[in-house]
Amino acid sequence: MMVRRLCKKWVIYPFIKHKVRHFLNPLKIFVALGCVSAVLSVLVLLGFLIQSSLPFWQAFGIQVLWGDAWYPYESLFGFLPAIVGTVWALLIAMIIALPCGLAAAIVSSEMMSETWRNLVRVGMEILAGIPSVVYGLIGLWLLLPFLQHSLDLLTGHNLLAAGMILSLMILPTIMVMSQDALQAISEEQRESAMNLGVDWQQRLFRVLLPQAWPGIRSGILLALGRALGETMAVMLVVGSMDRLPEPFYNILEPAQTLTSRIGREMGEASFGSLHFSALMGCGLILAVMAMGLSLLAQHRSLIR
């Protein structure tokens, strides 16, 4: 009885707005419980991520971010090779996927009939759902031998392969988001452009693309976020070599990304060791980068 009264007073009352005070309203209890558990679970998970990477930051400080040697057994933890590898992989993926995806969006939104457009869209949505490990399988068995033979490389495992696989994975995201943005432009705006007497090309570059740009931009940032966190496919094709590319634009040698390092070394690092905490540091960097991208994507008025 006592417990119940305390519960009422401290758990349920504060949640109930003053206007409608149904005591122990089951709906409100349900909603409150759900919200509290969601907030708690997310906070606990992310809190422990920060907490367990703390020993590492305390021991080595922020300069690990530009250290270039990663030898866990010698207590050398330099993050630079993996960060550079991640950035390269993202860049390559974008260079391939952005023109293709954007062009596909323009073609399907401006040049296709409604039926075809819907068909393409459904196809793209389905493709966006293909699991990354399946892309990894394709990369390993189709892309790597192809790269190795066509470019006459020592091995097909390299940043280019990782970037290409990633581009395949983010293509649907870019395309669907850009298509949505183009479709959202109202008929009036299109017609007023027509009335100005500009041709198709000018209309596209002067009216449609600038109008759709905020949507396209969030699409790009979302796609970047997805590529950043992709693990399985990258891990299978990147070669996992913890070394800075030499020279820095050499993308045809095995390299490492943040995610592939976590995937490779997570099992071996014993819980509580410095190595474990360093990998948690990698995870934290990933999370911070991804949240940054996501915030940018939401902040529509930032670049216009």
Binding site: Y71, P72, L144, L154, T155, G156, S240, M241, P254
Partner: protein
């Protein structure tokens, strides 16, 4: 409504069978033996399931330290630090021996590289020799395959060739994980060198002889038996001192006649 709840609860309640699960984790070199033995053991004791997963020796030992597995698999000795953490809690049992073969791609073998000395192998891994030409082969860059630091094969190999089990390999061009992954990289390349347990040798992945005191010794089970092959090792399972009876029985099975037959079938040297 009642029916729905009833059906849902039926769906969700996992049948509670009175059986025991044994988790075995670690070296992918030991894995085929334990995995096949697990199937055979399950046939004899249907109520016991041995769940096997890889990850490498370091993972297996870490799992025993943390108590997340009942059985650890390791293809190397435990390091002093690991031993300090394991001390008194775990029995280390050797179930087989094998050779860590220095493997090359078929094309390299065909071009005339049949034997390498330990010093030559060390030069390759230290990055002093980067072309097969310098070793008498064709004019081609060497694809030097290193392994993840936690892998038992790498410990044993690095200790024998480079002097210490965690030595850096500056000449390495790619890192591989499990034996299978490394095997596939070697077989796909024409210029690769790597390290693999002798059980993973095949037509596309050839083991070269290792020259010791002017004598070329092939990575075969016979040479492990007579002790002449320089990069040989024991394959271990780690058994917690407070392990259940079924877990002990399983280890006994590994050491029994039938278990050792599996060891032989996989391609390792039995302990008896």
């Amino acid at each position: 409504m009642k029916h729905i709840i009833w059906a849902a609860s039926l769906l969700l309640s996992l049948p509670a069978v009175a059986s025991e699960n044994i988790a075995a984790v670690g070296s992918t070199t030991v894995l085929p033996v334990v995995s096949q033995a697990a199937t055979a053991f399950h046939a004899m004791h249907p109520d016991v399931k041995v769940m096997v997963s890889g990850g490498g020796s370091g993972v297996g030992i870490a799992a025993m330290i943390q108590g997340t597995a009942q059985l650890g698999m390791a293809s190397r000795e435990t390091s002093p630090e690991e031993q300090a953490k394991l001390d008194g809690k775990v029995d280390n049992i050797i179930i087989a021996s094998d050779a860590v073969a220095v493997v090359v791609s078929k094309a390299v073998y065909m071009s005339g590289i049949h034997a390498l000395s330990l010093a030559q192998i060390a030069d390759i891994y230290r990055g002093k020799v980067r072309n097969w030409k310098d070793l008498g082969g064709a004019d081609a860059r060497i694809l030097v395959i290193d392994k993840e630091a936690s892998r038992g094969t790498r410990h044993v190999f690095a200790k024998a060739v480079l002097g210490s089990s965690h030595a850096r390999a500056a000449g390495a061009s790619i890192i591989s994980g499990s034996n299978n992954e490394e095997q596939s990289i070697v077989s796909r390349s024409n210029n690769a060198i790597g390290m693999l347990s002798n059980a993973w040798l095949n037509d596309a992945v050839r083991g070269v002889d290792v020259i010791v005191h002017g004598q070329a010794i092939a990575p075969t089970i016979e040479h492990v038996r007579d002790g002449t092959y320089p990069i040989a090792r024991g394959l271990h399972v780690l058994l917690a001192k407070n392990a259940s009876k079924n877990t002990r029985d399983f280890v006994q099975f590994l050491l029994s006649h039938d278990g050792q037959a599996i060891v032989q079938k996989v391609g390792y040297l039995p302990v008896h």
